[in-house]
Amino acid sequence: MGSFGFPEFMFIIRAAGWTLLLTAVAFLIGGLLGGALAIMRLSSNRIVRSIASGYILVIQSIPVLMVLFMSYYGLSLFGIELPAFFAASLSLSIYVSAYLAEIWRGCIESVPFQQWEASSSLALTRGQQYRYVILPQAIRIALPPTVGFLVQLVKNTSIVSVVGFVELSRAGALVNQATFLPFQVFSVVAAIYFVICFPLSRLSRHLEKVMNAGRSH
């Protein structure tokens, strides 16, 4: 039986790096896709709207785990072997895109419709309206819930341990198997999650306060 010493600790810390990387990649790719989906959901074209809402509906209605299994095991049936990190990034990105799309759609819709009327009356194109009038206001509204979602994402990355990817949770489990010191090991793992998530939660809270203070009507 091993002991829970410095090498084990560093093993967990390195795995925390993978958790952060996975979070960053999923947030970046999922965010880009989610932003596009949010705008598609608000398109005046019915087909574009349906494609986006169909995608969001399907992804939100199935567990991330299924998306993960499908990308990891499912694609291998067709001869496409995805390394665990890619399968994990892919499925988390898909999950992130559907949720951010809905959060952001709500934020875009909460910009008063008079802003659309005023800007279209000034002969701006729809793209210009988004770029210069609507999105700058929507992004302010979106910051607190987006950071809040990011906290959820950090914790939810633990799900990818089931396909053998060694992120923070999985590293904890491995060290525990070798040391049988579950309390110490998982305390450290939990503490690391806390150190990552707590500042983000506070940031989200803070942003919400700042936004409310800045809203005078």
């Binding site: 008079q114 802003q115 009327e117 005023a118 800007s119 279209s120 009356s121 000034l122 002969a123 701006l124 194109t125 729809r126 210009q128 210069y132 009038v133 700058p136 206001q137 302010r140 005078s216 009507h217």
Partner: protein, 243 residues
């Protein structure tokens, strides 16, 4: 050629027909006030003139453009037709000068320097030169509305529409906005305004149009229309004092 031609315009919201065959013609430089009870269709008529409301039938021509749903043609029309709203609708994330230069630069391709030059000119026109760097939230309602007028003027429109622009203002702030509009009228701007300010309509508008139940019920030279209203509906409206 008239600056605005409205011919037999019909407009419904679902089952509710709000414009029941409206025709109106406005000459260049003319100021036309549209009055009537709420629900008479006066704001809807104004919003049809720059395409914010889509009409079911009839024809609208403004500043040489025919009303259309084609986005490109509609933008061309809107470059020549300004509108000012009851709720100002300034862009809250931009300061005064940024509010004003945005559309001339984006929609008309005016250079930044030229747009800022224009902004200074229109701000002087509405008496707010010193507020050039202020944010909308730090301005009074009257000031915000004057900036909104300036923003519209910076596009150098041929026709200006005013949709109850003083209705959201405290009584002591309406004067400053009405002054700006009166000066515009004197400067020869073609203006259509939906208003509850009867004395302004009477004194500044060349023509006043009384709308009732989705139709133009009565119209004429403002002085005459207010002095001797012909229809019982207009008589009752002017007597009621609730405008």
């Amino acid at each position: 050629m008239p600056a605005v031609v409205i011919e037999d315009v019909h407009k419904s919201f679902g089952q509710n027909e709000v414009l029941k065959g409206v025709s109106l013609s406005v000459e260049p430089g003319q100021v036309v006030a549209i009055i009537g009870r709420s629900g008479s269709g006066k704001s809807t008529l104004l919003r049809c003139i720059n395409g914010l409301e889509v009409i079911q039938s009839g024809r609208i021509e403004v500043a040489g453009h025919t009303m259309t749903e084609d986005p490109k043609a509609l933008r061309d029309l809107r470059k020549d037709v300004g509108i000012v709203f009851q709720s100002y609708n300034l862009f809250p994330h931009l300061n005064v000068v940024e509010n004003i230069i945005l559309a001339p630069k984006l929609a008309k391709g005016v250079s930044d320097g030229e747009a800022r030059e224009r902004a200074r000119a229109v701000l002087a026109q509405v008496g707010l030169s010193e507020k050039i760097d202020a944010y909308p939230d730090n301005l009074s309602g009257g000031q915000q509305q004057r900036v909104a007028i300036a923003r519209s003027l910076a596009m150098q429109p041929k026709v200006m529409l005013f949709d109850e622009v003083t209705s959201a203002l405290d009584p002591e702030l309406t004067g400053e906005v009405l002054n700006v509009m009166e000066n515009l009228a004197k400067g020869g701007m073609t203006m259509l305004l939906v208003t509850h300010e009867m004395s302004f309509a009477r004194n500044v508008a060349d023509v006043t149009v009384f709308m009732h139940q989705g139709k133009i019920w009565e119209q004429g030279a403002s002085e005459e229309l207010f002095a001797s209203p012909k229809t019982p509906e207009l008589q009752a409206f002017l007597r009621s004092g609730v405008h």
